[in-house]
């Protein structure tokens, strides 16, 4: 219906010659909303049952949980990172790069050097793979996460300056000693939009873009991450997370409940604190009913993608050209197509514009966490989808970028790019101010 209505109104000057409306970033799952709530819309035309499931998931997503035993919303902790989904994913968007506060959205992964039996990171005894920096009252959190920034000013060719802040992360107040060295990796809560679409992109389409040995010699060597899925107990293509270390939305959601909030479910029934001094010894697992878990999974699966704005603006078009010329699109691929799925027509056979290849790339030492995660190396990060990126300041004022929110503006985010993206970053830095602004205006149209 959307397409029909738009075609009906079509003017030749407005839409591209191929008759396709390039505002529809999420295909049929696109929503025309550029307000602070723009990341919180359901796909349209969900059946009434699906709409009910989405709303149910929405309620749980924004619901605060409390310490067990409690008559309602019980099961938080005993160790956790936050008390509700929305406490990190504010307005379903990207979070705040702080740790330990009520609205903090940064968590810290932790592991020992080496790989485990499945090729993944090695859990730290007494800590697992994630630091829970909050605890039920009277219990000690696993650790305090300390973030410090050093600031340095740089210049573009034309003399305009910009500042980058480089973070350092350290743990203090450990509840138990860790022997030997350990690896840390910060992860900021990412936006929730379009996950169902990304899950529906065929593995073959993603893998087809991989070129791990850069055989084509273009300087871009994207690789698919293959990860052990804790629910299916199989190695699968990693799609979600900043290092593409999670294979599916259900695993992402169940793991977030378990690790971020301390809520057990039928698929992950063991408390994150099991075997630790904070463990509550209550026989209340699974704390989360399957209906609740599945509703939140469905909610995450059916959040629509906001439409682009100002796509016919001449400066935006110029910025798009420069984005191509800078070869940003080598990784931030504009277009993917979802597979045919008769069981879930809302995500079936959609041409989408996520601006990602869903592969991991070497981004250089500046951004490196030096903590491998399955096939993603210590300098590798998944190409972040850029759809919705222009709305970050509206949705999460003032908006933060990159895996740990170190970038406070899109300019900073671009200038942090290194490794395979170094040439594109250099291209941008050599542009005139008006052309740099055109690139930014293009990004802000996404």
């Amino acid at each position: 219906m959307v397409v029909f209505a738009l075609v009906k109104c079509q003017k030749s000057a407005v839409f591209p010659a191929d008759q396709y409306d390039n505002r529809l970033s999420g295909g049929d799952a696109t929503v025309f909303d550029a307000t602070s709530k723009a990341f919180g819309n359901a796909f349209e035309n969900l059946s009434s049952y699906d709409g009910y499931m989405h709303e149910m998931g929405d309620k749980v997503f924004s619901q605060s949980f409390v310490t067990a035993p409690a008559p309602i919303h019980s099961g938080l902790g005993p160790i956790f990172n936050n008390t509700s989904c929305v406490s990190c994913h504010h307005n379903d968007g990207i979070g705040l790069p702080t740790a330990g506060d009520a609205q903090s959205s940064l968590l810290m992964r932790i592991s020992l050097p080496g790989t485990d039996a499945n090729g993944g990171p090695v859990a730290v005894p007494g800590y697992g793979l994630q630091v829970q920096d909050k605890a039920s009252y009277g219990l000690q959190p696993e650790a305090k996460v300390n973030i410090a920034y050093t600031y340095q000013t740089y210049s573009f060719d034309d003399g305009e300056t910009y500042e980058l802040r480089a973070p350092t992360y350290a743990l203090s107040n450990l509840y138990a000693p860790i022997s030997g060295t350990y690896l840390l990796s910060p992860r900021l809560a990412p936006p929730m939009i379009g996950l169902g679409l990304l899950e529906a992109v065929p593995e073959s389409e993603i893998v087809a873009n991989a070129d791990p040995n850069d055989v084509n010699g273009d300087g871009i060597a994207g690789k698919a991450n293959y990860v052990y899925d804790v629910i299916t107990k199989k190695m699968q293509l990693g799609r979600f997370g900043w290092k593409a270390n999670t294979a599916s939305i259900i695993t992402q959601v169940a793991t977030a409940f378990n690790q971020d909030m301390g809520l057990t479910s039928s698929v992950l029934p063991v408390e994150s604190s099991y075997g630790q001094t904070q463990y509550d010894s209550l026989h209340d697992d699974a704390e989360l009913p399957d209906t609740t878990l599945n509703a939140v999974k469905f909610y995450a699966q059916t959040l629509a993608v906001p439409a682009r704005r100002n796509t016919t603006d001449a400066t935006v078009k110029r910025g798009e050209q420069l984005f191509m010329l800078a070869k940003c699109a080598s990784c931030h691929k504009q277009t993917l197509t979802t597979g045919v799925n008769v069981a879930f027509p809302a995500v079936s056979n959609q041409v989408i514009h996520p601006y990602t290849d869903m592969l991991v790339h070497n981004m250089g030492i500046g951004l490196a966490d030096n903590r491998p995660d399955f096939k993603a190396g210590g300098q590798d990060w998944r190409t972040a989808p850029l759809w919705g990126v222009g709305l970050f300041p509206v949705i999460n004022n003032p908006g933060f970028y990159l895996h740990d929110g170190r970038a406070r503006t899109l300019v900073e985010a671009i200038m942090w790019h290194g490794g395979e993206a170094a040439a594109s970053q250099a291209y941008f830095s050599h542009l005139s101010k008006s052309d740099r602004n055109a690139v930014l205006k293009f990004l802000n149209s996404l």
Binding site: A5, A34, G40, N41
Partner: protein, 362 residues
């Protein structure tokens, strides 16, 4: 966080905006008179509604804080009743501002800081049993389910509104004093965030929309946020706050169950929509309003919206008991209220959103 209705209707609205040029009722040309009115509506929204509403929350929170101090000095049931009255008054002003929940209240998480739910009773008991000094700085370190309106509500009303002054311990009093001060401090931050006399205030962002505002590049952006927030609170009240305990037949899922204040909460939320639409707040001068703007182009739509808001507000009078009881004994009345609010929601997301998109061009 947002229903699917908006999407369909706003897309249709957009399509209409693109197709229709010269409809008499929906003229898309923007005269300077209309631009002036649009600007006046935004200026008065900030000056005659948002600022007075946030000032009122702060003023009532101060009264509550003083009532807590008086109670702690002289812990009588009368003084406890005074805190309860002040809590309900502060709550009323707060729930009204939820009729337009955008800007600093969401940007800086003042909402969850003051109004998270449910209370974490297991932790709260442990806080009271501990040797935590319970100073304001200690309260600020606690999670949001251990402070704000509902933690105060739990102490001053108790489960089933059965609390007595004599049962409030010295530790309770210490905690209550800091909870009251902490809540007041947050209301000051919220009020200051809009105060035109403060640096980087949000009033300037609204009234300079499209003219230097860093937040809003057009007046349309503010109107869209405003109308969206009005519709969102309809959804939250009818389909979440009212529906969840009703569907589960479980009064513990009712937000203000300790105080039995939920019906007032709901009604004040919808009154907040009326205030936002008419640009009015008790004790403040009324201003140029969204209603006036709609009426200038489409008088029948304005009347329809006003009528639906008033019908929704009036429908609450059919619930004659606490919401905790009404979900069992007055289900038809509850559903009547929900239907009235959802009717309004459809109009706000449909007709009013389309009106805004069609008529506000800058």
């Amino acid at each position: 966080m947002r229903g699917k209705f908006l999407i369909t209707l706003s897309v249709i609205g957009l399509a209409i905006a693109g197709c229709k040029k010269d409809n008499a009722n929906n003229s898309s040309g923007n005269t300077s008179a209309q631009a002036t009115l649009e600007q006046q509506v935004l200026t008065d929204f900030a000056g005659n509604l948002a600022n007075p509403n946030y000032q009122d929350i702060q003023a009532n929170a101060l009264v509550m804080n003083n009532a807590i101090i008086a109670f702690n000095t002289n812990p009588t049931d009368n003084n406890l009743a005074a805190i309860r009255t002040a809590w309900k008054n502060t709550r009323a002003a707060w729930e009204k501002c939820e009729g337009f929940l955008f800007g600093p209240v969401e940007d800086f998480n003042y909402d969850p800081t003051m109004d998270d739910w449910p209370v974490n009773k297991a932790d709260l008991d442990n806080v009271l049993a501990s040797n935590n000094p319970l100073q304001v700085s200690d309260i600020d370190q606690l999670g949001t389910t251990l402070k704000g309106f509902h933690a105060i509500e739990y102490i001053i009303f108790g489960v089933g509104s059965t609390q007595k002054a004599a049962n409030i311990t010295d530790r309770d009093k210490l905690y209550l004093a800091s909870l009251g001060q902490s809540l007041y401090n947050t209301t000051v931050q919220l009020r200051n965030s809009w105060d035109p006399a403060q640096a980087n205030n949000f009033t300037a962002e609204v009234i300079n929309a499209g003219n230097g505002s860093t937040r809003y590049t057009s007046r349309l952006d503010v109107f869209t946020a405003l109308v969206g927030s009005m519709a969102d609170i309809c959804n939250e009240v009818a389909n979440e706050k009212m529906q969840t305990p009703l569907a589960a037949q479980d009064s513990t899922l009712d937000e203000s169950s300790f105080s039995h204040n939920s019906v007032n909460d709901f009604k004040n939320n919808i009154t907040g929509i009326l205030n936002a639409y008419k640009c009015q707040y008790p004790g403040a001068a009324s201003g140029h309003s969204l209603s006036e703007l709609v009426a200038s182009k489409n008088a029948s739509l304005d009347l329809k919206i006003q009528s639906q808001i008033n019908t929704a507000i009036a429908s609450f009078s059919s619930i004659t008991t606490t919401y905790e009881k009404a979900i069992y004994t007055q289900q038809n009345q509850v559903k009547t209220v929900q239907n009235a609010i959802n009717t309004l929601k459809v109009t706000l997301e449909g007709d009013l959103s389309a009106f805004i998109q069609t008529n506000i061009k800058d």
